[in-house]
Symmetry: C2
Subunit: 329 residues, 2 copies
DNA sequence: TTGAAAGCGTTACCAT
DNA sequence: ATGGTAACGCTTTCAA
């Protein structure tokens, strides 16, 4: 692999000068500059990011930790958004998939410039490490006390509220909610929106209206259906914490001969790509995943360039998308 | 950031000895070893991958180039497979999203240990660079002459054959095929399977049965539908080069009042997760995307560890999955 | 068994 | 305007 010294030799200068030319540091005579550039061209030289990073400079890479159990659509939209941000600024994305302990080490070892987290609460240990290493971070779909971390999330409370109110407006009163995992901040906020909507319309939230789901999967939705089918009376509507849950629920109910939306209304969350062309097009809440991914990458790169972002918490708006899976009871 | 010298100082040895302990090089007295390990523990020291990589050692990272226009499901399955491989061997994955020129440079600069390509033909320039830099590579869903590159792909010819033969067996004769982009080897092989099946049953492939699509998207499928709807006579069945195309086609036809499978049979390819719960569950060909991703990562890491893989071309089997979108004419 | 010195490719600081 | 030297954190080679 050709290095600065090789270029220097060919251009008849010292390698320092080569470095100066590469980094546009000025203080290089135009003739010399030209000679160096020619040598670079001739040898096909490219600077090594590693050498750079070793001098505590940037390696133009951000790290992201992917934890499992994410729907295709979510991961894809998120990656698309992050990709857009990275591409714009010519950054690479480093993914590591190790187990939960020592989550951050692989990134530190490789001296990434910044970190993206999402849908995870940061442990105090992680926050300590982040602050100690003074590494820029963004956290997507969650909040965090540390001033070092910028948080971007969508207005899940509003989303939960909109979804529930939509059902209430249609005339439903026995509205169930599939409650997402408690360690998921988005799910907690959607739950809160549901509660707020119910209460503001003087509807009581009986215990049997709350249906916990362990994760966002079709199988979890099917499980909920199995549980509901054992009851004397179904709720007249279900606000699902995610589209995938809604799909599973809808499929299983349909197999049991229950019609959507005639017998039961179902509303999802995320507005994933498939909502539109399933058996019964799903009413859902638009979750700006791609936008948050993009903005997250951009915000992070701003951090890295020492341009502190204007706000440390940024909330993205959501929107109710009405399709065919909801109707008056 | 704490380094080898810090550890050495605390353990009262030279940093060389620390290096030996870390790499299990032996030739270290057990007492010294223990002392060093304690110091490492106490300081929370972790070796820097960068320092290592600079000495042309491994940085435990493989690179992958993602080019756009991939369906959610495909990307997700592929990532899941690759993740499994990486996790097992504690490797990280580096993604870069630059434009087409200079595709490989970002990876070389960062000294990745190996490269994964997929669904792309490698240019001769890229092959030249790979061979020159002597960097292990795997290519998924395509073939390549270079002996340096291992190729893994699924049996698309068989898949195209199975799909077409299924339709023929049902009694169809006017079977159309949406022909994928010509720069996509998988699409070309599926096309070939279609042709072979038609010919082996003495069916002529009239020009109007070949419907080119520019990319694998629902919109492309809808475009095909628009084109078909202007004809006097529809084909009685369509073998779509991907599920996404099939979804778009199916949706658009349904909107025009044409029933699937009563009026027209449709078969997709990939067997993506959504095939099962769409309006009309889609007959499709199972494409082992996740498996190939996993095997690809494993094969690549074998390469990196200098264990040349047993075979340089590995073909994965496919399977026809019959659902509701195909029936006798 | 341990250590010293050199080198990997780059940049920062100080000198010329 | 240009270059020398040191430093980044590590491994390798040789010497003690």
């Amino acid at each position: 692999m050709v290095n600065q010294s090789d270029v220097a030799r060919l251009a008849n200068v010292s390698f320092i000068t080569v470095s100066r030319v590469i980094n546009n540091k000025g203080n290089v005579k135009e003739v010399t500059r030209k000679r160096v550039l020619d040598a670079i061209e001739e040898l096909g030289y490219h600077p090594s990011s590693l050498g750079r990073a070793l001098n505590s400079n940037s390696i133009n890479t951000i790290g992201m930790h992917l934890r499992g159990n994410l729907s295709n659509d979510f991961v894809h939209s998120l990656l698309t958004g992050i990709e857009a941000g990275c591409k714009q600024h010519n950054y690479s994305l480093l993914l590591h998939f190790g187990d939960e302990s020592n989550t951050l080490q692989p990134y530190f070892e490789r001296k990434v410039d910044g970190l993206i987290f999402f849908l995870t609460e940061l442990t105090t240990e992680e926050i300590r490490l982040i602050e100690k290493n003074d590494i820029p971070c963004v956290l997507l779909w969650d909040q965090c006390e540390s001033k070092v971390v910028s948080c971007l999330f969508s207005d899940d409370v509003k989303g939960g509220f909109l979804a529930t109110e939509h059902l209430i407006t249609l005339g439903h009163t026995r509205i169930a909610h599939t409650v997402g995992p408690t360690d998921n901040a988005s799910a907690r906020r959607r739950h809160q929106g549901y509660i707020t909507a119910m209460q503001s319309h003087k509807l009581t939230v009986a215990d049997d209206l709350l249906l916990p789901v362990p994760h966002f999967s079709q199988e979890a939705g099917r499980q909920v259906a199995r549980e509901l089918l054992q009851r004397h009376q179904l709720p007249s509507a279900v606000f699902c914490v995610s589209d995938l849950i809604a799909f599973g629920l809808m499929d299983a109910l349909r197999e049991a001969g229950i019609r959507v939306p005639e017998d039961i209304s179902i509303i999802g969350y995320d507005n994933s790509h498939t909502t539109a062309h399933v058996y019964c097009p799903l009413t859902s809440v638009y979750n700006p995943v791609k936008e948050i991914g993009h903005a997250g990458a951009e915000t992070l790169i701003q951090h890295i360039h020492n341009e502190p972002p204007t706000e440390s918490n940024r909330i993205f708006d959501v929107e109710l998308i009405v399709r065919k899976s909801t109707a008056s009871p």
